[in-house]
Symmetry: C2
């Protein structure tokens, strides 16, 4: 039996999710104060360690089982000429993930993360949202459940990424629907469209906004798509319920996060922003989510790659916090 | 027999150091173009992989043996009340490094780096540079040689860090001597001095600048000190000669790098900036070196910690470059 069978039940589960563990946060903060370094000298690494502590519910956190989940979907809106790559690339890249040849495979291996890829009905693209709703309610629920069930309850850190030719256009449409603004303000070059392609993306988003007036976050998700974005939202929500700390990836991942955030303001309390993508409007999306990115290295690949890279930063933060000696242990004068 | 026995011989070795391998860079760039991602989508990770390739001299680089070297020294200028911590902390922290309890130990372990610490005559601080030259020429040469010899010729990536109560004041003095400006423009809060301490730091730097008129980079190093900064310069120079890629750390490490850069403009061609420190003038120092930092997470600890954190980013970049499938291998359409 699935954890939920309606959109309302999904929203209820998210609303009922437990908060961070304040006692664990306090214990970790007390320890942080005693470590052999000037107070605050590890900067954001200190905040990260306390954040992991509070969500893992321990004053001495560890990262031993990070999980990377990749969801793939295809999009009817590709008919509007919104991508530099043909839709066949989605299924080809899923094979590449399965064969270990993509960037996210190397990043997962580098930082010891378990990676899994879930392809969602690639032979059955969502409907073109300029013509009608991308997904039915049943399809939306099914994709949310796929994401929900994909999370390993024993994971101690989660990255959620995606692959889906056309999905920067979908993400831009979701952002515009939930935050306002025109297509031109939210679309970017994605995998590398030219100026004409960029204009087609903006027009497609504007057409979608004109056609779908719903502003309920889960209705927006259903109307604009796509399956992999719904699955990402489902996985992020499950991590919130399980109190697994989450690293957000780029523009598309953040559009999924935005759906949750618009639905329940505390939905992303367990999340940090892994990086600032080079995809134009990602910074604006992060600002709306109230998240400051850890990295800014010009990535614009998707696949969870920016968040995957940030796993190393979080591991380092936790290793410093849990492994360093205190002033008393090391016999160091504390100033 | 040491590699050099005069400052002039050291400078000659640095001048004669080989350039990066242009053919390896070209081979790596050709491979990068074929990898299963849109061109440029991995942002600075792509540049990093090509940079490592060109210095390792192979189109398929690896990071299997990163080395972290920490040099420690004590400073006569501490008599001017320039630090929030007493000078005894230097030797205490060396024991902490040796016992595995410092931040850099955890970072080295996290990213699989071999770490070694070299304490330079901690019971014999350099002279107070407000009163006279910090080091004799012989002491300077000896410290350069310590750094030079500390580099493992089989390392494939190097981080050079430091510990030395009082050394942000020394670094500020070196920066001011070589780049111009007053003490107030270059000093920062270091381990956490108050406003009165900050003013004392600025006065000490100004007194040092007034006393020592030498502008030859190695004479500046000798006059202002200290031993660990000279050792860092020696290690960085050796890495340049051995073509080992180098990650620069924060303000103090960059003051050592600045000495080399002022001596030989190409001395840091093998280096990237690991991070932007929270120590006030670090950004200005990086700009003078022409380096864009990889990370900016508010660290201000020293110990090579910012560069140590960046090891993970460089490893990830190299792993993507060398491990990803090409479009042809993966059967992915390349747009």
């Amino acid at each position: 039996m699935p954890a939920f069978s309606t959109l309302a039940e999904f929203a209820d589960l998210l609303r009922a999710a437990p908060a961070a563990d304040a006692a664990a946060h306090q214990a970790a903060a007390a320890r942080n104060w005693q470590l052999t370094k000037p107070p605050g000298a590890l900067g954001r690494l200190e905040d990260l360690a306390l954040w992991v502590a509070s969500w893992q519910g321990t004053g001495r956190p560890t990262i031993k089982a990070p999980q990377v989940l990749i969801f793939a979907g295809n999009h009817g809106v590709c008919a509007q000429g919104v991508s530099a790559f043909p839709p066949e690339v989605t299924v080809q890249m899923v094979a590449n993930f399965q064969g270990g040849g993509a960037a996210i495979n190397q990043l997962s291996k580098t930082f010891g993360a378990a990676m899994a890829v879930h392809a969602l009905d690639l032979d059955r693209p969502t409907a073109d949202f300029t013509q009608g709703p991308a997904m039915t309610e049943a399809e939306t629920i099914s994709a949310l459940i796929t994401g929900w069930n994909a999370v390993d309850a024993t994971a101690d850190l989660l990255v959620v990424g995606e692959m889906g030719i056309g999905n920067t256009t979908v993400a831009a449409a979701i952002a515009a629907a939930l935050l306002g603004g025109t297509g031109a303000e939210w679309v970017g070059r994605g995998t590398g469209v030219d100026n004409a392609g960029l204009a087609r993306k903006a027009r497609a988003v504007d057409a979608g906004l004109a056609r779908h007036r719903a502003r309920d976050p889960l209705q927006v998700l259903a109307c604009l798509g796509g399956r992999e974005i719904a699955a990402m939202a489902g996985a992020m929500a499950r991590a919130r319920v399980l109190r697994i700390p989450l690293i957000l990836d780029g523009f598309i991942a953040c559009s999924a996060a935005l759906v949750l955030h618009a639905l329940v303001p505390a939905a992303l309390d367990h999340a940090v922003a892994g990086h600032l993508s080079a995809e134009g409007a990602h910074g604006r999306l992060l600002a709306a989510l109230g998240k400051e990115p850890l990295l800014s290295l010009g990535l614009r690949l998707g696949e969870g790659s920016g968040a995957g890279l940030a796993i190393g930063v979080v591991q380092a933060a936790v290793a410093c916090h849990s492994g360093m000696a205190t002033f008393a242990e090391a016999g160091v004068s504390d100033g």
